[in-house]
Each structure stands twice: as structure tokens, then as C-alpha cells.
């Protein structure tokens, strides 16, 4: 069963729509990354999934239940969707345990046990009494994660959760979170503008631009076989070469003939290669082709 299905979702804030018709299927227990530059509509889409705003048209289905449609709107508190916002957004008036227990039932005893369990899970044992501002950025993110996971959501949304961390910490926290989520098995959607993050963490990556999903697929296929020049430009550094002539299996460029990848579409006008491969031959490693 799909954990989340978006069907032709359009979202606008009164002006021209920011999300212009997105359809997406997220498989149970999958880790999907939505990758896009700022202004691509990815955060708006995430806010609509969480229930913070209402799509203009289209439907959103979570675990088989329609949560947003023409005559349906389930408020965020009834959706069982966990959110880890940017910067964590911990409640500054509550301690760590209070933050994690925020979404749990009022039953003190079971809540306390669950909080302990989650603290252990995010490796913050003994910090239940600490105040959010006493924690490091990475610890704050882990508390935010524990808080979102506490009510056992059917779907977890991560909104650029690592962007506020400095580079060294970022990859460390990233790995921790990925490992933990794999253990828990919660279906997760990560929204990010960081290509490396999306490609290294996710099972599948959806690239968004101009309010549309441009391409969706496994990280390697996004990287190796971008279907548009825009996607190719976005997911990594490029060398763009003008093509002099095209035949069935290769193109002629200033760097010599480059073999075409037959898996892609026809009618190529561009051939792209990452500079790290510094290919002079078409079949060299890191070589990608793109077409329009």
C-alpha cells in the first residue's frame, strides 16, 4: 500500500500557483527526498502534506485515507504526520522530555517510558531535564526528531533539517538520522536543496523545479541519467559541450566522439559529463547524457 499519494496537487497563495500539479506515490517504509532550489515549491508541497495549508485542487491520500480533496480537509492534528521543521523549532518553555512528550497522551506513566525509550533511541540518555537552548544544534535536531517520532506517525516529514548545522556536524547527524529511521522503518519524506544530501540519503529522489516534479527515480538514475538539462545542472557540476553532429550511437563534440547512452530518450542535443571524470572519451566514468 502507498504511504502517501498525491494526485495532481495544485497549491497557490492567491497569485499564480506555487505547486502546479504534482502527482507522487510514496511507498510504505520508503525514504523519499524532494530536491529543489528555493522557490521550486518543495516546502509548500510539504506544508500541504502536513496539513498546514490547503491545496487549491488535487487530492492527498495518507495511508489509504483521503486527507485533502475537493470536499475533504483533515486538520494537521488528525493526520498522524510527524514534522521535523527547519531549525528544529523546539518549544523553548519545555525541557527535552517535555518536548518529546508533547504529542503523547496525558497518561504520565506510559508517556515517561516512551520518552526514555526515544531519548535512548536518539542517543540523548539523561538529557531529559535539559533545556533546548542548552543543547548543541545536532542534539536539538535529534530531540526534534524524537518529538516527531513519539506519537508513532505513519509518515515523517523532514523540512531541511540539516541546513542549520555546520558542515562537519551535518554529515554526522545525517548518518545518525538515516540509520535510526531505517531501524524504525517510518516512511519519510525529506525536503532539501542539497543535492549531496538527497542523493546520499534517499531511496528515491524527486527533483522539483517551477512547481513541478521534473524527474523521479533512484539517486543513481537522477545523477547518471537526468532527463532534462535543468535536472542535470541541478544535481551536479556539468561540462556542457556543443554537439557538432549526431548519428545513431554517438555525437561529435570538440572533445571527440562521445558514445550515446541508449537507455535515455532520443533526439539528443546535449551531452553532459561531470568535470571530475574529465572525460575525453565518451565511455569514461562519470559520463552522463541528457536530452530534451
Amino acid at each position: 500500500m502507498s504511504a502517501l499519494t498525491l494526485a495532481d496537487v495544485v497549491i497557490g497563495y492567491g497569485g499564480p500557483p506555487v505547486v502546479r500539479g504534482v502527482s507522487l506515490d510514496v511507498i510504505d517504509r520508503e525514504f523519499l527526498a524532494i530536491l529543489g532550489a528555493s522557490g521550486s515549491g518543495k516546502t509548500t508541497l510539504l506544508r500541504a502534506i502536513a496539513g498546514y495549508l490547503r491545496p487549491t485542487s488535487g487530492t492527498i491520500t495518507v495511508a489509504g485515507e483521503l486527507v485533502a480533496g475537493p470536499h475533504t480537509f483533515v486538520p494537521p492534528e488528525k493526520r498522524r504526520i510527524g514534522v521535523v521543521p527547519q531549525e528544529g523549532a523546539l518549544f523553548p518553555h519545555l525541557d527535552v522530555a517535555g518536548n518529546i512528550a508533547f504529542g503523547l497522551s496525558r497518561d504520565k506513566k506510559s508517556a515517561r517510558a516512551r520518552v526514555e525509550q526515544l531519548l535512548e533511541m536518539v542517543d540523548l540518555q539523561g538529557l531529559g531535564k535539559a533545556r533546548p537552548h542548552e543543547l548543541s544544534g545536532g542534539q536539538q535536531q535529534r530531540v526534534a526528531l524524537a518529538r516527531a517520532l513519539a506519537p508513532e506517525p505513519s509518515l515523517l516529514l523532514l523540512d531541511e533539517p540539516f541546513s542549520s548545522l555546520d558542515a562537519a556536524l551535518r554529515s554526522e547527524v545525517r548518518t545518525q538520522v538515516r540509520t535510526l529511521l531505517r531501524e524504525v522503518g517510518t516512511t519519510t519524506i525529506l525536503v532539501t536543496h542539497d543535492q549531496e544530501e538527497a542523493l546520499s540519503l534517499a531511496d528515491r529522489v524527486a527533483v522539483m523545479a517551477d512547481g513541478l516534479v521534473q524527474q523521479i527515480g533512484a539517486p543513481w538514475s537522477i545523477y547518471e541519467q537526468p532527463t532534462t538539462l535543468e535536472v542535470a545542472r541541478f544535481v551536479g557540476d556539468l561540462v556542457e559541450l556543443p554537439v557538432n553532429s549526431v548519428d545513431d550511437s554517438s555525437v561529435q563534440t570538440a572533445l571527440g566522439p562521445i558514445q550515446l547512452d541508449r537507455r535515455g530518450a532520443n533526439n539528443r542535443r546535449h551531452h553532459t559529463a561531470h568535470p571530475r571524470g574529465a572525460p575525453t572519451r565518451a565511455t569514461g566514468p562519470g559520463c552522463r547524457s541528457s536530452s530534451r
Binding site: 504526520i81 510527524g82 531549525e87 523549532a89 518549544f91 518553555h93 508533547f102 518529538r147
Partner: protein
């Protein structure tokens, strides 16, 4: 409304009376005089505090803000009690300038302190001398803050009743009050009120236009760096200190001395403690109800204004802020007319008085709650929603919970400011109902300066509570994670305190 009842003929008649023209000129002269007085007092003070190495800066920053804690008519009372010969427009300009110059001095100090040194240095490197730099670079950058401060001072002056009445200056507020009280000359009071509101509105519009055009942005990123302080020569230091001490003595020392003198006298005259307690009880009860009404009206507006920026919301907020331009005497008068016309039973009741306070001080309640609500990131509330709390519970357990110090501060501010309100109280109070302000007023009016002293002291104590509370609230670092580690310069904090605590 009341104005229209009277018919156009009598409106035109009272508009063109020579007296009306005189009143308008008097009020304008008063306002312009106070603006000039503020500039003279505030500009050197702000420059000394913000840009020089003068010793004792944090102390003088406090003394420059402290006149705000003395209600202006208490200051007028203190001066006239010491120098009974004082009267007329010059006396009023003098005292009002002393009472209002902090509105300019504090934001100006903050602005001079916080603007980036880069632009000034660039101007110097482009060949401009220090004076040309000040005129062409610094002045335009501090202008928005200065204009806002001057507007507050001007509005304050326009709507001030006590000082004007004590010095027997026939400005709008006094003429309106006398017309209403002495002859129950309704038409002329109503016409003059409208004229006064119109003048206030013109001031607000002028300020908004001046500020709108002067809107400044910092182009480019990077951390801004405050301007270096100028090292003063020993002679200049002495002169600067003499200035600061002199201003402090005139603005605070003389009133304090006069008040102490009068207090000594009042021990010999009969001082009725039960009357004092009655006045305090009156002040508190009317103001507390007023604060409760103001809070109830302000919260919805504040929430909308903090979270949404649609045109409608801006309109509602702007409408509420016009209250800043609404003098107490006008609100008092219009509620007298309104109750008599619509609900005679409510005429001169506690509720009507409290309602007048709420209308007058609504902007304070909105301002304080709005900024504290806006300081709570919306992500916190939406996260609470995603964790299963409904909209109301999410608001109360997160946003309301975090913003309550600001909301409470707003309500408290209304409470304490309402205790000082004089003309509306005089017009709307139930018969026999007294507050600290009215007791002080009746005694000053019969020149019983000694007997008035305890009430003046009580007013000052009351008025300094908001200043003190604001200082405390603002100096407490906001919860980490909300504002991050934004470093607040002393001057900036004082500016916030002045704006929250300011106006009337």
C-alpha cells in the same frame, strides 16, 4: 456626529469665530516650539551618548529616559509650585520639551549607535567633510527613527491637557474642556474636537510620508559594524558632561527638589490618608477594568497583525493605532455625547470611564502583544498541530504560553497609563469618584501645592512602574531559540522601552 446635529450654520459660525483661529495658532506654536525644544535638548545628548567617549554613558542614558516616567502635568505642577510666576505659552513649551525630549533622544541614540559605520566611512573617502557627511549620509539614515520620535512628542503635546491648563495656555485641549465644563457649549466643543483630531491626523500623515520616502535598506550582506566613538579632548569632555548634567538637573532635579519641598509642607497641612486610599482605589478599579477591556479588544487584532499581513488586517491595525492621535479630551467628550444620546444610563459610570481608557490605550496593548506574538516562530504552533493539538489548544499551550509576558506587559501598561489619564477622567467619572490624577488636579487648580504633593509623588511612583518593568522585561534575554543570540545594544533596548512605555 454631535457636530452634525448642531446644523451647518452653527458649525460654520463656531469655526470662523476668531477664538478658533487663535486656538489653532496657539496649539501650532506650542507643537512647533516643543519640536524645536526637543531637537535642542535631544540632538547633542544623543550624539554625546552614541558617538563619543564621554564617561558615564549608561548612567546618562537612564537620566535621558527618566523624564518619561514623570507625567508631564506632574512636572508642570512641580515647576509652578517652585516658581508660581510661570505661565503662558513659553512656560508650556519649556516644560513640554523637558517632558518629551526622551521620545527623540532615545531612538536617535539607538539609531546613531546601530547604523553601519561603512557608509559614513565611504562618504569620507569620497571627499565629504564631517559636516557634509552628517548632513548627506547620517541624517538620512537616522531620519526615520527621529521622525517617529518627533511625531510622538508632537502628538503628546497636542493632546496634553494638564500642563496646558496649569500654565493657562488656550490650546485646543483646554479650550475644549472649558467650553464643555463652563458653558456646556456642546457645539463649539465638538467642532474644536474635530479640528484637534484633524490636526493630529495631519501630523500622523506627514510623519508616515516623510518616513515612507526615507525608508532605508542596507544593501549587501555582511555584519554591520557600529561607528567608532570619537575621542573627546579634556575640555570637550567637561563641556559635554556639563551639558548632560545640566539637562538632567533641569528635567529631573528641579521637579524632584520642588516635590520634596512641597512634601515637607504637606506634612504640616492636613493630609487625609483615607482620601488618598480612596483615590488609589478609584484609580486602580477604573484602570483595571479599562485594561481588561483593552486586552479583550487588542488580542484578536494583535494575533491577526502578527501572523497575517493582508490589507484588511493592516487597516484594522492602522485604525486602532489612530488612537495614538486621539487626545483624551476628545475621547472623553465623544463618550459623553454618545452615552447621553444612546445610553443615558451609562453616562458617568465606571464602565464608560473604563471603556474610554480602553479606547485611548488600545494601541499600547496591541503593540506589546503583537511584537511578543510575532516573536514566537509560527513553526512552533504548526509543529504543535502536527503533534495532535487542535488550533485553540496549540495557541494556548505554545504561542500564548510563550507570548504571555508581552501580553501581560501590554495589559499592565494600559492599567498604569490609564491611572495617569486626566481629561477623560474628569469628564466621565461618576460623581464623587476620585482618582489620583483628579485629586492632584483639583488641588493644583486651587493652588494648594502642598496638599497636592503626596498625589504627585504617588503618580510618579505609579508612572515609573511601567518604565521599570519594561526595562526588566526587555533586558531579560528572550528564551534562547526564539530570538537566537541577537545582541541587544543598551540603546536599542531603551528605544524599545520608550516605544512600549511611551506616548502619554
Amino acid at each position: 456626529m454631535r457636530t452634525l446635529d448642531a446644523g451647518w450654520a452653527s458649525i460654520v459660525a463656531s469655526l470662523w469665530r476668531e477664538r478658533t483661529l487663535d486656538t489653532t495658532i496657539t496649539s501650532l506654536v506650542l507643537v512647533v516650539g516643543v519640536i524645536i525644544g526637543c531637537l535642542i535638548l535631544a540632538v547633542p545628548t544623543a550624539w554625546l551618548l552614541a558617538r563619543t567617549s564621554i564617561p558615564g554613558r549608561s548612567f546618562f542614558l537612564v537620566t535621558a529616559a527618566l523624564p518619561l516616567a514623570v507625567p508631564s502635568y506632574v512636572m508642570a505642577y512641580a515647576w509652578i509650585a517652585e516658581f508660581p510666576g510661570m505661565s503662558g505659552i513659553w512656560a508650556a513649551i519649556f516644560v513640554m520639551s523637558l517632558a518629551t525630549f526622551p521620545y527623540l533622544a532615545i531612538p536617535l541614540t539607538a539609531a546613531l549607535r546601530t547604523i553601519d559605520a561603512g557608509q559614513e566611512e565611504a562618504a569620507r573617502s569620497l571627499g565629504l567633510g564631517p559636516w557634509a557627511t552628517a548632513r548627506r549620509v547620517t541624517l538620512p539614515m537616522v531620519w526615520p527613527a527621529a521622525a517617529a520620535g518627533l511625531l510622538l512628542a508632537a502628538l503628546y503635546t497636542l493632546s496634553e491637557f494638564g500642563t496646558v491648563a496649569i500654565f493657562r495656555v488656550d490650546a485646543f485641549t483646554r479650550v475644549i474642556y472649558t467650553a464643555y465644563r463652563a458653558s456646556f457649549d456642546r457645539t463649539s466643543a465638538a467642532v474644536l474636537s474635530l479640528l484637534l483630531v484633524l490636526l493630529a491626523l495631519i501630523l500622523v500623515i506627514i510623519e508616515a510620508r516623510v518616513r515612507g520616502r526615507a525608508q532605508r535598506w542596507r544593501v549587501g550582506s555582511g555584519v554591520s559594524r557600529p561607528a567608532p566613538r570619537q575621542q573627546l579632548s579634556p575640555g570637550a569632555t567637561v563641556a559635554g558632561l556639563a551639558w548632560l548634567i545640566g539637562v538632567g538637573l533641569v528635567a529631573l532635579g528641579v521637579p524632584a527638589w520642588s516635590l520634596t519641598q512641597r512634601l515637607m509642607e504637606s506634612r504640616q497641612t492636613d493630609f487625609d490618608i483615607s482620601e488618598m486610599l480612596g483615590a488609589i482605589a478609584g484609580s486602580i478599579s477604573a484602570s483595571a477594568i479599562g485594561a481588561a477591556i483593552a486586552l479583550a479588544l487588542a488580542l484578536p487584532i494583535a494575533i491577526l497583525a502578527a501572523r497575517y499581513t493582508s490589507r484588511l488586517v493592516k487597516g484594522i491595525e492602522g485604525g486602532a493605532f489612530l488612537g495614538h492621535a486621539l487626545p483624551g479630551v476628545v475621547v472623553g467628550l465623544s463618550l459623553v455625547f454618545l452615552t447621553l444620546a444612546v445610553l443615558p444610563a451609562a453616562y458617568q459610570t465606571l464602565i464608560t470611564l473604563a471603556f474610554a481608557y480602553a479606547v485611548l490605550f488600545l494601541p499600547k496593548a496591541i503593540g506589546a502583544s503583537r511584537s511578543s506574538i510575532a516573536a514566537v516562530p509560527p513553526a512552533l504552533e504548526s509543529t504543535a498541530r502536527s503533534l495532535g493539538r487542535g488550533p485553540l489548544r496549540a495557541w494556548f499551550t505554545v504561542t500564548g504560553r510563550l507570548a504571555w509576558p508581552g501580553i501581560a506587559a501590554g495589559a499592565l501598561l494600559v492599567l498604569l497609563t490609564a491611572m495617569k489619564e486626566l481629561p477623560a477622567t474628569l469628564m466621565l467619572r461618576p460623581t464623587g469618584f476620585d482618582t489620583l490624577a483628579t485629586e492632584l488636579w483639583t488641588r493644583t487648580e486651587i493652588e494648594a501645592f502642598g496638599a497636592a504633593a503626596p498625589y504627585a509623588l504617588a503618580m510618579i511612583l505609579l508612572a515609573s512602574v511601567p518604565a521599570w518593568l519594561m526595562g526588566r522585561w526587555l533586558s531579560r534575554t528572550p528564551d534562547a531559540g526564539i530570538a537566537g543570540n541577537t545582541h541587544h545594544d543598551e540603546a536599542v533596548r531603551a528605544q524599545e522601552a520608550a516605544y512600549v512605555g511611551g506616548a502619554r
